[in-house]
């Protein structure tokens, strides 16, 4: 039963073949039985979910057809949920029960989605393995000794194990795509500004973007239809007319121009077996009529270094709000105001968050701004310009999502080696482009992700290419044996 996709459940709910209450109970039972192996949820909201399901059933009985009516989903614990703890994976926000809903949560509620709970994540979305969570690491459903990726690792593991048919994620440097690849699911980071950041706890505001994670491209399109749209409460929300992101699913690929960035294939560090999977996927797309050519992104090697200036700088500024005064964690018996600030922050934040706050504080401090931050912002533009030139000749770019297979828990102890696991995903964030990962193969029982990067606002086309690929292949239907 749990093998059914989110889109499949939408059809069955509309046809009244199953009630939302039955469906919600089915997934709540799976979470209770199977999640102890994964730790993918921080909070399960069973009672509220069943109440939402009953309300959805009443609306279905009246013939209503909102996009996600009655469908169980999970929210990454970075999205504020009124009356429900919103921890962001941090001790700092362990006591925080949000007094308001994020726009994404409001929109999904309005579409009729049933929230089963809040998923685990790297603390403040800073990590690529989900090992920095205050609530303990998430485990990969394909091999519980390995990481699910991060930072949206809880959402990816939960969908991969079919504990929920769809979940939200956020992607600042690869945090939707890398865990989607590691857990064998489909995930999309939309164009910067598509999905409102209001109520999405800020990490690096010029890069952060929410998006859907589910089994298939069709599922992601349906979720994005509910999530995206202009929001006056987000100052960088883009004002564009509403769009149907499922509109291009059935478009054939004849004449589609696919670019292969040579830099994403040639560099040392790409596992040959991953490369083999990507080469096979290219053949499938060619078989459907796509044309493939090589393109250059000559500055892409500067993406990770530029990101580790820009993202920490914005993080140090955003996380300055956590002061132990207005909400969140406060230290015991502060001696004075400075002690209150420094100990609340020192005790409330984990090491990776502290590290990034310190890097950001340093690169923004007097005398260093030009040498680091300004330089990184200039590099950001030459990276975006590379993409602009590439998209003059091709419609989509194709690459691996990650250079390697899901790694073992504890395998990447030094920060820089962890940062390099996002080597193929970060450039799209710096440029603000939409990009997605979809399952394209298996090696030693572990999934491999294929990345598609599109031009600005070209999500529908990306999802269409992915859907066409998923018509020809069955990687997206595979579920780890222990969770089948």
């Amino acid at each position: 039963m749990a093998q059914e996709t989110l889109s499949g459940w939408v059809r069955k709910l509309q046809a009244r073949e199953i009630s939302s209450r039955e469906l919600t109970q089915l997934y709540l039972d799976r979470i209770e039985r199977l999640d102890p192996q994964l730790n993918s949820f921080i909070t399960v909201t069973a009672e509220q979910a069943l109440a939402q399901a009953e309300a959805a059933d009443a609306r279905l009985a009246k013939g209503e057809q909102t996009p996600l009516l009655g469908v169980p989903i999970a929210q990454k614990d970075i999205f504020c949920t009124e009356g429900v703890r919103t921890s962001c994976g941090s001790r700092m926000l362990d006591p925080f029960v949000s007094p308001y809903n994020a726009t994404v949560v409001e929109r999904m509620n309005a579409a009729g989605a049933v929230m089963l709970g809040k998923t685990n994540m790297d603390e403040f979305a800073m990590g690529s393995s989900n090992e920095t969570s205050f609530y303990g690491p998430v485990r990969n459903p394909w091999d519980t000794e390995r990481v699910p990726g991060g930072s949206s690792g809880g959402s990816a593991a939960a969908v991969g194990a079919r504990l929920v048919p769809g979940a939200t994620g956020t992607d600042t440097g690869g945090s939707i795509r890398q865990p989607a690849a590691f857990c064998g699911i489909t995930g999309l980071k939309p164009t910067y500004g598509r999905v409102s950041r209001y109520g999405m706890i800020a990490f690096a505001s010029s890069l952060d973007q929410g998006g859907p994670m589910a089994a298939t491209a069709e599922d992601c399109g349906q979720m994005l239809n509910a999530m995206a749209g202009f929001d006056e409460r987000d100052s960088t929300s883009v004002e564009r007319p509403a769009e149907d992101f499922t509109a291009a699913l059935n478009q054939d690929l004849k004449g589609l121009r696919i670019g292969l960035p040579t830099e994403f294939f040639g560099e040392a560090g790409l596992d040959e077996r991953v490369r083999g999977v990507i080469d096979a996927a290219i053949e499938v797309l060619k078989g459907r009529g796509a044309e493939v050519r090589e393109v250059g992104l000559p500055n892409s090697h500067l993406s990770v270094p530029a990101y580790y200036v820009v993202a920490p700088a914005e993080c140090s500024s955003n996380l300055a709000r956590f002061d132990g005064v207005r909400y969140g964690y406060r230290c015991e018996n502060p001696e004075d105001l400075m002690d209150l600030y420094t100990r609340s922050r020192g005790e409330g934040f984990g090491d990776e968050v502290k590290r990034r706050i310190m890097v950001g504080t340093y690169v923004l401090s007097a005398g260093y701004y030009d040498a680091y931050y300004l330089k990184a912002q200039k590099v950001r533009r030459i990276i975006a310009d590379d993409f602009r030139r590439a998209f003059a000749d091709v419609d989509v770019l194709l690459a691996p999502t990650t250079p390697e297979l899901p790694f073992a828990l504890g395998a990447k102890a030094d920060p820089v080696s962890m940062y390099l696991s996002d080597i193929y995903t970060i450039a799209a964030n710096l440029a603000g482009l939409p990009a997605m990962s979809l399952p394209a193969g298996e090696i030693d029982g572990l999934p491999v992700g294929l990345q598609l990067i599109g031009n600005y606002f070209d999500e529908a086309r990306l999802l269409g290419v992915a859907h066409q690929y998923q018509q020809e292949t069955d990687w997206h239907t595979r579920v780890p044996a222990a969770f089948a």
């Binding site: 005064v325 209150l340 300004l374």
Partner: protein, 95 residues
């Protein structure tokens, strides 16, 4: 660039993070590695390039100067660590 323990403590202070010498020593290696890593930017061809602050080069949207948010002071203060009489409490600042 390499940072030593005292430099780490200085940055921690600017960041308002309590940190003792042992902790600062633990952070020094990782921070030094990160600063060395981002030095790769020094080789970038960025002469005459405009810094990019926003992916779509959008400008700040303006709105009419009108009250749009309701008063939710009680809801917001209900989640504060310490409040009294509608005020947030902190340790005494003026002796």
């Amino acid at each position: 660039m390499s940072v030593d323990t005292s430099e780490v403590r200085r940055i921690a202070h600017l960041s308002r993070l309590a940190m003792n010498d042992d902790q600062a020593r633990d952070f020094a290696g990782g921070l030094s590695d990160i600063f060395a890593f981002v030095e790769q930017l020094d080789g970038a061809a960025i002469e005459g390039v405009e810094p990019m602050a926003h992916p779509l080069d959008a400008e700040q949207r303006l709105r009419p100067d009108a009250v749009t948010e309701p008063d939710r002071r009680e809801a917001y203060q209900a989640i504060a660590p310490a409040v009294e009489g509608g005020l947030y409490l902190v340790p005494r600042v003026i002796e």
